[in-house]
């Protein structure tokens, strides 16, 4: 079993950290992981993305060609990565920011108003956790608990209060895709 995912958005939206949490959670669950960021000047104010592989086996190529899932936080990333999703794969869109159309019929598209949900929770910065929660609900790549455990390790002392809001954000994201799946059914 190998999960391959790309997280993409503006630099500063926490896309690199989101990918790192996923990789870290995989490591905590005893899996093989690889995380590769885009790097260089494009990250400063421009778009940033990272790819994550979580696998039960030794990882050969650490590069993600056709991601099983893509988490999209801005319009340029939608244009860049929608076409790369593996047929049958998942495209998760923060619909609070990204409104562009997706023409592909062979992938599952979920629009989650992640920024709106985050704002309702009282912290705009947890939008990435909303989308990550949705991704975990759909794939079960790792458990939400492992992600929160990873987050606890990277949060500096004094910021552990942020854990609870992140947990809520992940739950809201999961709920959003459950509802949307229910609506389709």
């Amino acid at each position: 079993m190998q999960q391959e995912v790309i997280v993409a958005g503006f630099g500063g939206q926490g896309v690199l950290l989101t990918g790192q949490l996923l990789a870290y959670a995989g490591l905590l669950e005893g899996k093989h992981v690889a995380w590769i960021p885009s790097y260089g000047p494009e990250m400063r104010g421009g778009t940033a993305n990272c790819s994550v592989i979580i696998s039960d086996q030794n990882i050969g190529s650490p590069l993600v060609e056709e991601p099983g899932a893509v988490l999209v936080f801005n319009q340029p990333s939608l244009e860049k990565f929608a076409k790369r999703v593996r047929s049958g794969g998942i495209l998760l869109i923060n619909s609070s920011i990204v409104t562009g159309e997706v023409k592909r019929q062979d992938i599952q598209v979920y629009r989650v108003p992640a920024s709106q949900i985050a704002a309702q929770l009282g912290n705009d910065r947890v939008a990435n956790m909303v989308l990550l929660g949705a991704y975990l609900e759909l794939t079960g790549a790792v458990s939400t608990e492992s992600v929160l455990k990873a987050l606890a390790k990277v949060l500096s002392k004094g910021k552990s209060g942020l854990l609870e809001i992140n947990r809520k954000a992940a739950e809201m994201g999961a709920l959003a895709v459950r509802r949307s799946a229910a609506a389709e059914a």
Binding site: Q20, L27, A34, W35, I36, Y39, I59, G60, S61, P62
Partner: protein, 356 residues
């Protein structure tokens, strides 16, 4: 215990654990996390971190520190390594141990900042002036970056020669799980040749100038004998599914990781493919390549350059089998799909021939 670390940072941590207490460097993408990591960690470990005014100054500081007996390292990326080459020639000529890290990016010229392997020639064929060699280690994972960093210091001291750790932008930037294995005690550091002040002994001189050609030839013979021993004792490589392989891919570093996935895909399609991964690029693992020729019909060298290591593969194969090449340049990375297509073409699948 395994931790998740960037390749660049893993090199830094492994260096400190290997007893390196001295780093001189200059910022350049995509290796900058390494000096940044050491800027924080080395002073904690009681060591010296100094950001030099240039790559040229940095390698010459390495020369001074190595000559003073320190375990010392510098790092850079391709254009910066070009600047260090004069110093590397001096280090090899003066028999000074040190570790030089090159996290390669696309060239030539200022090139780009994306991953590349286009410094293979520079690393393995000298680069700087004069007849010198250095061991070139080519890791393919963050774990191996850590392991080979530690080994690089030991090899440098063993032979009193610079050792290069050759990675690329992906390896430097990538995060993977890494554990820092406890290493057996370092061999006693008996650097009696170091210039530390001559109290209680005859004075030491670190030098590479020999105006008398007979003396310089004698010095060269001595160096060549040392390089011969390195070539004899320090070859490292890894083979993967080569036992019955008809198509053998040869690749190093990141390209080898991608090639491994392509080899697995080819096997699933019934093509008997295998992989030879040189871990030392110099000395080059000729024997490992010769040893797979019995079952092998053709070889495919895959590199993130326009075709450099392929020359050494062809030398090893010596015309016994066709050696094909597939590469991407400029910071583009070959995909497993592209490599699989090349394997298929060579296997004749594309033309309907049977391979099994």
């Amino acid at each position: 215990m395994k931790v998740l670390m960037k390749g660049n940072e893993a090199i830094g941590e492994a260096a400190i654990r290997a007893g390196c207490r001295c780093f001189f460097g200059y910022p350049i993408t995509p290796q900058t996390e390494l000096p940044e990591y050491l800027a924080k960690r080395l002073p904690e470990a009681g060591g010296v971190f100094l950001q030099a005014e240039s790559e040229i100054a940095a390698i010459n500081m390495v020369y001074g520190a190595a000559g003073a007996g320190a375990r010392v390292m510098t790092s850079s990326s391709s254009p910066g390594i070009s600047l260090k080459l004069e110093g590397i020639s001096y280090l090899a000529a003066s028999e000074l141990p040190c570790v030089i890290v090159n996290i390669m990016r696309g060239g030539p010229g200022l090139g780009g900042i994306q991953p590349s392997q286009s410094d293979y020639f520079q690393a393995t064929k000298g680069g700087g002036h004069g007849d010198y060699r250095m061991i070139v280690l080519a890791p393919a994972s963050v774990q191996e970056l850590a392991d080979l960093t530690a080994e690089a210091f030991e090899l440098a001291d063993k032979y009193r020669n610079p050792v290069m750790l050759l990675g690329d932008g992906i390896l430097g930037q990538m995060m993977e799980a890494v554990s820092f294995r406890p290493r057996t005690a370092l061999p006693a550091q008996d650097k009696t040749w170091a210039t530390t002040g001559c109290r209680g002994r005859a004075r030491n001189v670190i030098n590479s100038l020999y105006l008398d050609p007979e003396k310089l030839e004698r010095h060269n013979r001595h160096l060549q004998e040392k390089f011969r021993q390195m070539a004899e004792n320090e070859v490292r490589s890894e083979t993967y599914r080569t036992e019955d392989a008809e198509i053998v891919v040869v690749a190093f570093g990141t390209a080898a990781r991608i090639a491994r996935t392509a080899v697995d895909s080819a096997r699933m399609q019934g093509i008997r493919a295998g992989l030879v991964r040189p871990v030392t690029l110099w000395p080059f693992p000729d024997q490992a390549i010769k040893s797979v020729l019995a079952s092998c019909r053709a070889l495919l060298t895959v590199e993130m350059n326009a075709g450099q290591m392929v020359e050494d593969v062809r030398l090893a194969v010596a015309g016994a089998r066709p050696v094909h090449f597939y590469g991407r340049t400029g910071g583009m990375v070959p995909s497993a799909t592209e490599i699989l297509r090349e394997i298929q073409n060579i296997a004749g699948v594309a033309y309907g021939a049977s391979v099994s």
